[in-house]
């Protein structure tokens, strides 16, 4: 019986996602941090053309990290997560075709939200940018991996992260291309979009995990979607305030270090909360099934 369980476990051997995701976010934060420090502390200045080139290259960094650290290692195993690239590509396409046009042309948030109070901004971004992003990423996951692509709990996390990478890639490309920020600010924008999409995707994944593997009460998944939208709204609303300096007679300058610190704290906190909820739920279910000697139900 023990041998049979071991064999079954080997068939379903999957790369642990948490460590890989943490590593990618840490590397991305390190790159952004180096860029910010180079500009703020070392006062390194780049030519406009070089700065633009560096900014555009930065847009591809999260995707490349994800390909190297999440996608390629999958194919060392007999049963890789085959839909990772599909989820990322479709998420990016939905951001391009629906997400950004809806936020910019339909909700026109730039016209009314940035000037509101902090609380109004959080609520506003939650029910515009947040709900649009979460809704689209949820629909992509629902139709591409739910339930066929879910074999173990961590599949949901891996696919949700793929969605976040794809979705944020398009947003990064548009922001860097259109706004043409200096290279260190571009690094912060890239980290910001990845963090916002990552934080919201984690809550979507937790909802899918509970719904599918735990057969949870029907309100659990919608509640998680709402939390995902709130997470996106919260970071979107607070980040620009921290990035912009205090207005004075001398004008105001960006404060990338503050923005950087806030983003690192945001993704670390989201990751910590999600990991805690994930492992707690997994342990509870393992104990429930373990009591009957049936591990296959996890």
């Amino acid at each position: 019986m023990a041998q049979q369980t071991q064999n079954r476990a080997e068939i379903y051997a999957f790369r642990p996602v948490w460590r890989r995701i943490s590593l990618q976010l840490a590397i991305l934060s390190l790159i952004a941090g180096i860029f910010v420090l180079a500009n703020e502390v070392l006062l390194l200045r780049l030519d406009a053309a070089v700065s633009r080139l560096v900014s555009i290259v930065l847009v591809f960094v999260p995707g490349l990290l994800w390909l190297l650290l999440s996608v390629l290692p999958e194919y060392r195993f007999s049963r890789p997560r085959r839909r990772l690239i599909g989820v990322a590509v479709v998420s990016g396409l939905t951001a391009s075709a629906i997400g950004l046009p809806l936020v910019e042309a339909f909700f026109i948030v730039e016209r009314w939200l940035p000037l509101q109070s902090v609380f109004a901004r959080i609520i506003g971004y939650t029910f515009t940018v947040g709900i649009v992003d979460v809704g689209l990423k949820f629909v992509v996951l629902r139709y591409l991996i739910y339930p066929g692509g879910l074999r173990v709990r961590s599949d949901a996390i891996a696919y949700a992260f793929a969605g976040a990478v794809g979705y944020s890639f398009y947003l990064n490309l548009v922001h860097v291309w259109r706004l043409d920020p200096v290279w260190d600010v571009a690094a912060i924008y890239v980290l910001a979009n990845v963090t916002i999409q990552f934080a919201s995707s984690l809550f979507i994944a937790l909802g899918l995990v509970e719904s599918y593997f735990g057969d949870a009460f029907p309100l659990v998944l919608p509640t998680n979607l709402l939390l995902a939208a709130v997470a996106a709204g919260l970071v979107t609303a607070l980040f620009p305030g921290l990035m912009s300096g205090v207005l004075s007679q001398a004008g105001n300058a960006d404060r990338p270090l503050y923005g950087f610190a806030m983003l690192v704290a945001s993704w670390a906190l989201s990751l910590g909360i999600a990991y805690f909820l994930f492992t707690t739920s997994e342990r509870r279910e393992r104990e429930a099934y373990g009591g009957r000697g049936d591990f296959d139900g996890i």
Binding site: Y12, R111, I131, V134, P147, R151, V152, V220, F295
Partner: protein, 199 residues
């Protein structure tokens, strides 16, 4: 290496899961509706303006900046817009008993041609005011450029619309100007403004 035990994909989802997906769609739709509601309430929020001397009461978008200068009764500007700020200007012109509305518009055009770059009249028309009287309109365009030649930036093409009506021996001109890229979209603001204007 770490392992996780897994299960084969289910062929069908359970009724609970079906409900949770349906409720998720419902939450997304309700969220979007709340977002639309917020957008409309913020965008349509107005402030009241009252000028007893000129006998004008108006309501303008709350986020716009009010300015009462000598040459106009008042004007309101959307300062949040990058580039040319959308503006609604209300001014009065003296009229004599034999002044035609068209003559008043021509006088405005002559003045503007001297101060605005590439000022061009695009056409004349009529506009139905809330009390069902007809006002004459003149649409035009010009090029807006930063005041300082040392500031880097592209010029914008601005579209304008004047609505002129004569009442009680006084001509009232409502001038609306916006960047040509957003002029059509912003016209709704002018319509709402005129609908609530009392003079």
């Amino acid at each position: 290496m770490e392992f996780e035990t897994g299960r084969s994909p289910a062929i069908q989802i359970t009724p609970r899961q079906r409900w949770s997906i349906a409720l998720s769609y419902l939450v997304i739709i309700i969220g979007l509706l709340l977002g639309m509601n917020q957008r409309d309430s913020f965008l349509n929020q107005t402030s009241a303006y009252n000028n007893v001397e000129a006998g004008i009461t108006a309501s303008y978008p709350a986020r716009w900046l009010l300015d009462e200068s000598d040459s106009n009764i008042f004007r309101v500007r959307d300062m949040s817009h990058r580039g040319f700020n959308t503006v609604i200007e209300v001014s009065s012109l003296p009229v004599s008993s034999d002044s035609a509305e068209r003559n008043l518009l021509d006088r405005l055009s002559i003045q503007r041609a001297q101060v605005l770059i590439d000022y061009t009249i695009l056409g004349y028309g009529t506009y139905s005011l809330p009390d069902e009287t007809q006002a004459v309109t003149m649409s035009y365009s010009f090029v807006s450029r930063d005041a300082s030649p040392f500031l880097e930036g592209l010029s914008s093409i601005v579209n304008g619309l004047d609505i002129l009506t004569v009442r009680r021996g006084q001509a009232l001109v409502i001038s609306f100007r916006a960047d040509s890229n957003i002029f059509q979209r912003e016209l709704q603001t002018l319509t709402t403004f005129v609908d609530n204007l009392q003079f």
